[in-house]
């Protein structure tokens, strides 16, 4: 089983230095979420709201919900991903400047 990163551990993960882009393919929104703007390779940026504790972060590159959760090492079964009031599926694409909430579903009691 792959090691887990709890929701509360995400801060340090998200503040980590971005990995090198040298292996990323160029193109109009490739599988890494990049796209071309006037010949430059620009990474898409998704703003995410995290909880426990509540905080906002920007994440570069994910093009689908599944990729976003993989990037953050979050188990999909433990969260809902919400855009506005809409639940997102793991296969849903994330667009530039999307704002999504990753809401933990685990509660005690």
């Amino acid at each position: 089983m792959r090691p887990l990163l709890s929701i509360s551990d995400l801060n340090s993960h998200l503040h980590a230095k971005p990995k090198s882009r040298s292996n990323h393919h160029l193109g109009c929104r490739n599988r890494h979420g990049s796209h071309h703007v006037r010949g430059r390779n620009v990474r898409s940026v998704v703003k995410i709201l995290l909880r426990h504790p509540r905080r906002e972060q920007e994440v570069q590159g994910p093009s689908t919900v599944r990729q976003l959760l993989e990037k953050l090492s979050i188990v999909p079964e433990s969260v809902l991903v919400i855009r506005g009031s809409e639940l997102l599926l793991s296969t849903d694409r994330l667009e530039d400047a999307d704002e999504v909430e990753i809401r933990p579903v685990i509660s005690g009691g």
Binding site: V75, L87, L89, I106, G108
Partner: protein, 307 residues
């Protein structure tokens, strides 16, 4: 991904059922799962006087919504635990839900009614905050149900809650707890109300999705005293297994309930007597809640009543 029923755009995938649903059909699916649980396990009838423990979280509010939609007359009871703004906010979510739907919510304040809060209990006893909280909820909700004439106490424990509790009980081989872990506990002559858990077929992620789809405002923040507790960590691990083996949690719990629980129940029916302080059923002289209350509040319930 398309809804299994109408082929419209799906809002949620339920991998353990190999299905996806749009919002409307997901609501129908969840309500059908709860109805099936109530019917199969003969939990209660629409004519019963049912009291639901309402915390202000997703599970209890979703369950209240489901039950009223299915035609059951269910009142709620909220226990103010005294955990700072978290408890105050949770109580407000419960009250708002009840007010908007014209439902009856009984409110109990642990501090003013019983002389202590959960932080006080955690400070003065060897119990963890979650243990003190669980004990207090079990005791107070049962007391309110009995006092107000309800014949069934409904709890919002979901599939993940029960699977994680089972995992913990198995890890510790706690045979008494394993014998008592059932979705229906009958009323006893010694003073325990009938207790039922209609959400055991519904995963935690599904109750949260149900609340979002139905527009139910609930307490999203985590209890500050429960952060990193054992059950929550077990849930994370079970979810990681579920991710690669969809349906594992359900097979684990329902396999136990159908084939394991009867074995553990065999020959394990503890003799209950009346607590010498409050007369609630207990296996000792003084029940666990009265011991907790005495330590936390520094005075016995008897002393309060005599005052």
């Amino acid at each position: 991904m398309r809804c299994r029923v109408c082929r419209g755009r799906a809002a949620i995938e339920v991998r353990r059922h190999n299905a996806a649903f749009c919002g409307d059909h997901f609501v129908e699916h969840i309500q059908r799962q709860v109805q099936k649980t109530i019917d199969d396990l003969k939990m209660f009838q629409p004519t019963d006087r049912a009291l639901l423990g309402v915390s202000g979280g997703k599970d209890s509010l979703a369950l209240w919504d489901i039950l009223t939609d299915l035609g059951y007359q269910v009142d709620g009871v909220n226990l103010e635990l005294g955990i700072g703004t978290y408890s105050a906010d949770s109580t407000n979510y419960s009250k708002d839900f009840a007010d908007r739907r014209g439902l009856t919510l009984h409110e109990v304040d642990l501090e003013s009614d019983y002389g202590f809060t959960i932080p006080m209990a955690a400070d003065t006893s060897s119990r963890t905050p979650c243990s003190a909280c669980g004990l207090s909820k079990r005791y107070v909700l049962n007391a309110i149900a009995r006092r107000r004439g309800y014949n069934v106490l409904v709890m919002g424990h979901n599939l993940d809650d029960e699977a994680a509790t089972l995992f913990s009980n198995v890890t510790n081989w706690n045979l008494d707890y394993l014998a008592r872990q059932q979705p229906v506990l009958d009323e006893t002559e010694t003073g325990l109300a009938r207790k039922v858990k209609p959400l055991i077929r519904v995963a935690e992620r599904e109750t949260a999705a149900y609340a979002v789809i139905r527009g139910i405002d609930y307490e999203i923040d985590e209890c500050p005293m429960a952060s990193g507790n054992t059950v929550n960590r077990i849930k994370e691990q079970l979810n990681a297994i579920e991710q690669t083996s969809p349906g594992m949690k359900q097979r684990f719990l329902f396999g136990f309930l159908e084939r394991g629980a009867p074995v553990f129940r065999e020959g394990r029916r503890p003799e209950l007597t009346a607590c010498t302080v409050c007369e609630s059923p207990t296996t000792g002289d003084v029940c666990a809640f009265c011991k907790l209350q005495q330590r936390a509040s520094g005075r016995s319930k008897q002393a309060q009543e005599n005052a």
